[in-house]
Structures are given as structure tokens and as C-alpha cells.
Amino acid sequence: MSQAPLFSSAGELANLVVNSNLIDVAWANIPEIQIGQAAFPCSVEPMDYSPTPNRTIVVFASSPNGTQYPLPEGGHLVQSSLFQFLSPNECPSVSINRAALDLFTSLESQLHGLKTKLIEREGQLIITGHSLGGSVAALFTLCLLDSMDKKSKCRPICITFGSPLLGDFDLQHSQWNSFFLHVVSNKDPVPGLFLPSSRSPSTSSHSQTSVYKPFGTYLLCSEHGCACFDDPDLILKILTVASSEVSGELQVVDYGEMLRNLKNKAIWKGPQLAGERYGNSFSEGIVMELETIGIDTAKLNIDINGMEREARSLTKKTKASEAKKLNDIKKAMANLEWYKKKAEDEKKSYYDCFRNEDKKRHVDAKNFMEELTIYWEDMVAEAERKPQKEGKSFRTGWLFAGTTYRRMVEPLDIADFYQGGDGRDYINSKRSQHYKLLEQWYKEAAKPPTREDLDSKKKKVSILLTEDSCFWAHVEEAILSCQSLTNATSTTKQRESSWENLVMFGEYVMEQIENCAVSPEIFLNGSTFMKWWGEYKAYIHNFRNFYSSRLVEYMKRGSYNQYG
């Protein structure tokens, strides 16, 4: 079957932007402010300029000097703790263009006040700047985004004109990416200034400058028209080609004039291309869009087919398919809950059921487990790729479900691990990263329990899941410690450390019991926990008859019969 046609909407999106007046409004005040800027490298001019109410415009103007001849070695990237928040958990450091960062830092106290003021506002907030001013505008917007929370009513957009690349971070997995629009003329050398192939003034530092990454959407313009792209690799390639073709002296592009021209072009029929119509709508569109912005596709060395494949895979992910997915996940959880209930009906804990038996039911459980694991690993990975704060708010929505998943499924992973008899030290050797993160996030988000919480927990402890999803791993290790104590070949040192472990384990279990944090199923006859108790009791009886602890007392008295 032939595939449904795909389209590239880069040209249409650009048309929408150009026709909408949004960028005219952003540009309108820049030239005037810039004229008065000869003496200082950069200044901020926040204004309440509004043709419509509820709109604030903040303009960052830099001097024409600073723009044309960026500071010596301005292309250097320097690590910045100030923008550490941009880094996702995945990769911890962030570097920013030195010239932009210096300017930003020199204005910091002024900007801090401005930020506090703006965040209180309601409505649209347009933050804009030209050239290096645009870089500072972008840095300021990033800080603003980091300070905003769900309650904030201000809706920012950052629009830069002819700004150089800013840093090595990428925002591809962040919602923030959509708040940046960079307007770039193919006649403007500045945006490509720090790229290796361009005639950058700081020629000494190519190796260092090649790690710049674009973020946000680029509105790329020529005298024929414009197109919007947001794929960082493609943008880098286009900027590289464009900057190598800028001829003669470094000149300042008049973006106002350029926009007027583009508006005219927008209701023009555009180029009449010769050739086959209805060949491939995607490549036809892309080629047309690139030609419009003055790029010869042959020179660009891009893989249009690859882009199409990627676009096709993205179209499969829709809200509808996600709604279905979410219900599938619920279904898998319901199946595991049922598995647990069936085990309880047979007076077994589901942990032991899974560890010791091998029936069709267990094969099914394994399938559901895998389905859930794939889903949650993806969710955790997605949260990990976002800037820290955004990742946090992304995951709070589902942390509750994620915790239930962890408590339900991780015991089965542990059972799997120790089943063969030669598993050792699950927590340090085998535990999956996504469980660790889910647990860490849960602990960060959880509030300390109150007296009432504990009381209500006591009432329904029988239906709770064991809170510590590694509980069974501790039990398994405790059994291994018991074995090591009684094993003739163990060294004294091994025995000492095993005993120490068992003492700690006893305290740990007692604490769990007192907090109603374990499911009563652990006390069921024949459970791995009771097996441990049997071995432990025997050891104490034989070798340490005078030893006692709270847990030992608790177990010997049979108090656990009243638990739950």
C-alpha cells in the first residue's frame, strides 16, 4: 500500500508569522533605541508599549559597534553556573557564549528587578532584541521561564533579530523551545559568526566553537521569501551555508525593510517551478522552501528522505493514540493487581508466587510487567531530558501512578533476580535506573506523614502495597547473610559482616512494621520472609541464645498475627 502523503509546513508557518504583525511589533522600537546606544554595549528598555491591552514589550538594544565587531574571542563558550538550570539531569554542564554572558552578567542586578516585576504581570510579554541584544534577550527569557510557575499569568515569547548562536545546550525536549523565535536574514553574517566554516574573527578557537547548538524556531529569510525550521541540525547546516555566502564587508541588515518586503511577498504567487507536480509532496515542499530562502539543496547535503521518515514516525504519536496507550497501561496494572489478588486467595504473597512457580498465569504477568516497564522507562527518560524544573513539573502529574507501578512491579523484578539462586546484591548490581529515579522523585515530593495518616493507614494496611519496593531484596540478602553465618567455609570477617547486616535488617523491618509500610502478606506461611525468620530463629537458638531485638521479640510473640 502506498503511504499517505506528508507535507512540510515550514513555508506556511513562516507566512503566518510574517503576516501576523507579531514580529513587526517586536522590531518596531529597536532601531530608535539602538541609535542612542553608541556608548554602551547594551541596555535594556522595558516598555509598556501596547496597541492591544495586556501586552508588554521588553527591548534589549545593543550598540551597533558591539554587534558588528563582537568582542575579541567573543565566540568562546564558557561554562556558566548561572544557567545550570538549563541542563537536564542527563548532562550536567552548560556553556554560554562569552560575549552574551558578559553583557548579561553586567546587567544582572537591573535584570533581576525587571524579572520580578514582569512575572507578576498578566498577558502577553514580548522580549526582543537585535544581534547581541537578542542574545541577552534570550538569556533573560530563559531566566524568566525558570522563575515562572503554573500560577504565572504572563505568557512570554522571545523574538531575536540576527542574533549569534548562544550556547551548547539544546532544548529539543523542552516545552521552552517553543518560546523562541529567531529571525535571520540570509544577508546577515552575525548569526553564523561562531560557526567553524564562516570567517569568524576569532579563528583560533574553531574546535571550541563548533559545539554551538541552535534552539527554538528559526525564521530564515531571503529577499524571495521565508521559512520556519526547528530542527537544530538543519538550522546549523543552513546557517553554515548562508554565512559562507555572505559577501563583502560585514553589513548591518535592516530587518524593518526586510519585513516590509516579506509582507509583500506573502500574497505573491511565489516561484512557478517547473517539473512534476504530485511527485512527493514532502520533498517538493522542502526543496521549494529551501530555494525560497536562497539555499541550493545540492550544497546543503541534507537527507530529505531521512527527514520524511522522522516526520512520519512523529505523526503516529497523537493524542488519540496516547489516550489508547494510557488505557492499555491501566489494563496491564489491573491484570497485575488481579494476579496479586489470586495469590492472596491461595494464601501466598504475590512475590513468592512469582518467585517460586511457573504457570501460564506467571507468563502473562511477565508480559504485562514488560509492557509497563517499557512505558515507564520512556516516561522517566522523557522527564530526564527536560530542563530540571520543567522535568519536575512534568513528572508530578504522574508520580503517584509511577509510584504504584514501582511498588507493584519492582518486587517481581527482584523475584526474577533471586529466583535462580545465584543473584547477589540486587540493589547495587541490577536495579534499573528508572526505579531509582522514581523512588528519588517520590521521596522529594512526599510530605512527612502526620499522626492521622498513620492511623488511617493502620485501618487499611491489608490492601496497601509494601512501600519500599526493594523490601524483598533486603529479605533475600538477609537470607544470604543467614546462610553465610552457618556456612562452614565462611571466614570470620564474612560472618561478622553478615551478622551486622542481619542486625540492621532487623531494625529496618521493625521500622517498616511500625510505620505500617509493609503489606501483611509478608507474614503468610511459607513466604520468603517467614523462611528467613525460620533460618534466623534457628541460628539464634543454636549460636546466640541470649540475643534479642525488637523484631525477634515481635516475631517470637507472634504479634504479627495482629498486624493488618
Partner: protein, 598 residues
């Protein structure tokens, strides 16, 4: 090819030109609200009665507050003009609506209309320029009243309604009754895609003086084309982005910073290319793209095109006279035909937009086909549910309570079925929100029936699950506006209510259990207040009515059901319908006893 316009729009060709003539005449006769004319069709001697409406070029009759004179319409006489899912009510231009309301009283009373209805003559509402919107709204008004379907013909009419407006028209199957003739460059059909501005006023002023004093040629304004078409073009680009599946998230942010016109074309469009050919287009997205792209600037200079955009608004009569006799009509639906598109002078980019518009329709049909595969699955799952219910009845507990206890294997399997079905209907819900299914989906008999069956059978289980986990403590009662009740049920209920022409919320039989559960909780909390007492009475009335029309399953009446136990515990003074309900419970008990014996 070779068809006439009349064939394509289902109206005799002989009607079109006289209707256009009458429409122009009526537009320029402000002293009368409308003109009427009877047109005899030569070959079968039947008659068509045309009503044409007067116009106004005063800015206040075109624009208003808020911007674009946006007014929600779906009340009273226009009850169908709404989305049956989350899309809200249709938006129309409030100034046009006001003018329509001025006319409708006299129009309804017109003796010619009465006579036409009695003699079963075809009625046509026609309008030229600002008479067009009135013709459109009048046609809708009578379609809602289910009078024999009137037709609507407009010539150079401005746009009237938004996307939901067009969606509702297509859902109701009314779209084909509307035909709009548009000249290639005429500015008026495009003017509503741009916010009202000094340019608007210049254009309207120009036409006003032109129509008022027919002999004097007023000086045409200039410089408006770039503004009006620039704004219109951003609307077309925005829609093209959606059609093309734009995945750049900036689109939403940018959209939130600008205000685009809400108005979109609906009905059948006939584009007059200016060289004797007519192009008929029904796909509303394609119409929008053609409206913009065929009027783009090409080799001719701006001033020339600008002048043409004014002149062509007065050229319908002569253009149609030349075209209608010929059979040079091409329908664009089913794929653009290159020859015709040459007549429209579309650029390659415009062709891509048209292809995207076509693909969007194709995708909707494909989605419907895919859904048909699901239908079987839904049937299978519903059958399992039905059996589950039957078995539960034998145990005298009822499937609601059995499910709530979750003790047996059957309960678990029912839960898996419940989740399976929720997945399918949630997917449909999301697709409808994104307009990814055909417009008439929510009006299809088999869909409404299947949905209703699903809702009545399965929603009680969602309610059981909700109260089993005491979720009311976290989210409030199951049924509160915008509350925890899954939207899929709300939508499906709305389809049925719309189909039966009942008020919103009147078909809530699947919520019976939620009312009972919540009342139980509230009585414990508040005691027998006046408000509670009224709710108990309502539950009793509902029970009797819904058992009566079989929309509620009778196993609520089982001796051990939550309902019967709760109801029996009520103090007698709170049970006005006690005898009647005891009788129902008794009958049920008998039925089950007999059933078990067999």
C-alpha cells in the same frame, strides 16, 4: 466533466441567473427587507420560489464588538449549530445575525412562503453581497424547523460562521443546500478573514456610494489589498499548517499572540474564473486555500489587482450569464484537475495546500474505516459484558454490586473489558476533538446506537469502580460539571440527546447508580434536608420512568443490590412512590426465581 452547475448543486440551471438578478435587485432596494419571485422551470413546469434579501454597506452592519463581531449562536432556533464534543457553540458574525433577526419575523409570515410550502414548491433563499449572510441564516432557520429543505444561493457573500458552524452544517447533512458564487478576485468574500479596520470602511464606503448613486462612479480606494489579503493569508497559512500536520510547537505559542479571524467557508463554492469556466468545490479547507491563493498577486501589478477586486464584486450577473449556458464546469472534489487549476492560476505552493486539504479528507475516511474494525471488537466486549450481567443477575446481586466487590474471576474479566472499551472510546473522543473523523460521525445511526448501548451497560461499572475506591473524597461527586465523569460518556450521551432533539442532560439514565451512591453519602453527612428529599424523589421518578422505557437495566431492583438495600433503609415518609417501587422489586424477584428454575 461536462456537467452543469445545476447538476452539481442539485438545482435547475434556469433558477440561478434569475435568482442572482433578484438578489442584486433586492440588495439595492433597502426599503424592502426582501423581494419574492416565482420562477417557472420550462421542462417540467414546476415552480421555484426565490426570496432575496436587501443589503447594507454601513460598517455597523458588518462589524462589532468583540473583534470580528464574534457571537455564539446555538440557542433556541439554531440548536444544531454546536459541537457535540468539546468544541463549544458555533460563532457567527453578530451584526449579520442582528440583521437576520430584523427580517425573520416578516419572512416567516410572508404569504408567498406559506403558499410555496402548501404547494410543495422548492424555496430558494438568495442574497448578493451583505444580503448573502441573511439568506444563509434564513435557510438554516428553516432547516432547523424541518420544513421541506430550502436552498440557499449567494453571490459575492461575506463569510458568516466559524469552523464549528461549518462542521455542524456538514454533520447535519445540510452543507449541500448552500451554494456560494465567488469571483476570482472579489474582495467581499474575503473581507471577513481580516479584522475590521479603516481599510474595511474604505471598501464599504466605496460600495455604498456606488450602490446608492448608480450613475456616479466614486473614486476607488487604494492600498487596502495588502492589509486585507495579508490578514486573510495568515488565516489560510494557519489552516495549511494544521492540514499539513505541522509539528512545530511554536505554532500554538504564536497563535496565542495573534488574533485570527474565526470565520471559515462552508457549503459548496462555485469559483468564477473570469474566462467562462466555473470550478465547483465542496471541501471547505480547499475552498479557503483557493479563496486566498487564486487572488494572489502574479504578473499584474498591485493597483490593477486591487481595482479588479472591487470591480468583480459588481460583475456576477454578466459573468454568470456567460458561464451558465456552457458546460465548462469542473468539480474539484476527488482531486485537483490541472486544467481547471490553471484557470484559477494557482502556484505550486497553493497546489500543495490543496493536496493537503484533500489528504485531510482522505485521512478522515481512512480513520472511519479503521474504526469499523474496532466496531467488531466493541461488539465482542459488549457481548462479554452482557453475559457477565446475566450471570450476576442469577446470583441476585446484580452486576453493579458484583463488580463493586471484585471477588470473582468474572469481575476481573469485566474490569479488563471495561478498560479495553474505555481505550477505544477515548481514542474516538480525541479524534473527534481534532476533527479526525468525518463530520457526520456523531450523527450516524449505528454509532449512536452502539455508543448508547456501551454507555448504559458499562458506565455503571465506572461508577462502581469510582465509589469502590471512594474517589469522591478526592475529586467530589461523580457527576458534577466538568467533574470526574469520563468525557467519553458525556459525549455519547450528547449524541443521543441531539438525535432525539432532547435537552442537554435529559438522557442521564446511565448515571442512576451515581445518583444513588452520592445520595447515600450525602444523607450520612447532612441528614434529610429539603434538598436531599427532592433528590430522593427524583431518583424514584427516574427509576420508574427508565425501567418503564427500558433505558435502565432492571437489575437495580434485585433484592441484594445497593439500591434496594439503600432504598429499604429510607424512612417511609421519604418514599412517596413506595408502593410502585415495591411492586417493581417484587416483579423482578419473581422473574429471577423463574429464570433460575428454567
Amino acid at each position: 466533466m461536462g456537467e452543469t452547475v445545476g447538476n452539481l448543486i442539485g438545482l435547475n440551471d434556469e433558477v440561478i441567473h434569475p435568482a442572482a438578478t433578484l438578489a442584486v435587485e433586492a440588495h439595492n432596494s433597502p426599503s424592502k427587507q426582501f423581494l419574492v419571485k416565482k420562477i417557472k422551470i420550462r421542462h417540467d413546469l414546476s415552480s421555484v420560489v426565490v426570496f432575496a434579501f436587501s443589503g447594507s454597506m454601513l460598517p455597523k452592519d458588518w462589524s462589532g464588538q468583540p473583534t470580528f463581531a464574534k457571537t455564539e449562536i446555538a440557542t433556541g432556533e439554531f440548536r444544531s449549530l454546536t459541537s457535540l464534543n468539546d468544541g463549544g457553540d458555533a460563532v457567527v458574525n453578530g451584526s449579520f445575525l442582528r440583521r437576520f433577526k430584523d427580517v425573520i419575523g416578516n419572512l416567516s409570515k410572508a404569504k408567498e412562503l406559506k403558499e410555496a410550502t402548501e404547494k410543495k414548491r422548492q424555496v430558494v433563499f438568495a442574497g448578493y453581497s451583505s444580503g448573502g449572510p441573511i439568506a444563509i441564516l434564513a435557510t438554516l432557520y428553516f432547516l432547523e424547523k424541518q420544513t421541506p429543505s430550502p436552498r440557499c444561493l449567494t453571490f459575492g457573500s461575506p463569510l458568516v460562521g466559524d469552523r464549528i458552524f461549518g462542521h455542524a452544517l456538514r454533520r447535519e447533512g445540510w452543507s449541500d443546500y448552500f451554494t456560494h458564487f465567488v469571483m476570482k478576485y472579489d474582495i467581499i468574500p474575503r473581507i471577513m478573514l481580516s479584522p475590521s479596520s479603516t481599510e474595511h470602511e474604505q471598501i464599504l464606503d466605496y460600495f455604498k456610494s456606488k450602490f446608492d448613486r448608480k450613475n456616479i462612479n466614486p473614486a476607488p480606494p487604494s492600498g487596502f489589498y495588502l492589509t486585507v489579503m495579508g490578514n486573510a493569508s495568515s488565516v489560510a497559512s494557519y489552516e495549511a499548517c494544521r492540514l499539513m500536520g505541522c509539528r512545530n510547537p511554536s505554532l500554538d505559542i504564536i497563535k496565542s499572540f495573534i488574533e485570527l479571524s474565526p470565520y471559515r467557508p462552508s457549503g459548496t463554492y462555485v469559483f468564477c474564473t473570469g474566462n467562462g469556466n466555473l470550478v465547483v468545490v465542496k471541501n471547505p479547507n480547499a475552498v479557503l486555500q483557493i479563496l486566498i491563493h487564486c487572488a494572489e498577486l502574479g504578473e499584474s501589478n498591485t493597483a490593477e489587482v486591487e481595482k479588479r477586486s472591487l470591480d468583480e464584486h459588481s460583475a456576477y450577473l454578466s459573468e454568470l450569464k456567460d458561464c451558465l449556458g456552457m458546460q465548462a464546469v469542473v468539480s474539484l472534489d476527488g482531486g485537483p484537475a490541472t486544467a481547471t487549476l490553471n484557470d484559477l492560476g494557482l502556484s505550486p505552493q497553493a497546489m500543495l495546500c490543496l493536496q493537503a486539504a484533500e489528504e485531510f479528507e482522505n485521512r478522515r475516511s481512512r480513520n472511519l474505516e479503521n474504526f469499523r474494525k474496532y466496531l467488531e471488537k466493541v461488539e465482542v466486549e459488549l457481548e462479554k459484558m452482557r453475559k457477565y450481567k446475566e450471570n450476576a443477575q442469577i446470583s441476585r446481586l446484580g452486576y453493579y454490586d458484583s463488580f463493586k466487590l471484585q471477588n470473582e474471576d468474572d469481575d476481573f474479566h469485566a474490569n479488563v473489558s471495561r478498560l479495553e472499551l474505555a481505550g477505544i472510546w477515548d481514542e474516538i473522543k480525541e479524534m473527534l476533538k481534532e476533527f479526525e473523523l468525518p463530520d457526520d460521525f456523531e450523527k450516524k445511526r449505528e454509532i449512536i446506537d452502539l455508543g448508547t448501548k456501551y454507555r448504559r451497560l458499562v458506565e455503571p461499572l465506572d461508577i462502581a469502580n469510582f465509589y469502590r475506591h471512594s474517589k469522591d473524597k478526592e475529586t467530589g461527586a461523580y457527576v458534577i460539571g466538568g467533574g470526574p465523569r469520563p468525557k467519553r460518556y458525556r459525549f455519547i450521551q450528547r449524541w443521543l440527546e441531539h438525535d432525539e432533539k432532547k435537552s442537554f442532560g435529559s438522557r442521564s439514565e446511565s448515571l442512576f447508580w451515581a445518583d444513588v451512591e452520592q445520595l447515600g453519602i450525602d444523607i450520612k453527612k447532612k441528614g434529610y434536608l429539603q434538598e436531599i428529599e427532592e433528590r430522593i424523589q427524583q431518583v424514584e421518578r427516574n427509576l420508574i420512568a427508565w425501567i418503564g422505557d427500558r433505558s435502565l437495566d432492571d437489575d437495580v431492583l434485585l433484592e441484594n443490590s445497593t439500591f434496594v438495600k439503600w432504598w429499604r433503609d429510607l424512612p417511609p415518609q421519604h418514599k412517596p412512590k413506595s408502593d410502585r417501587i415495591e411492586k417493581l422489586i417484587g416483579e423482578m424477584s419473581e422473574r429471577v426465581t423463574q429464570g433460575t428454575k428454567i
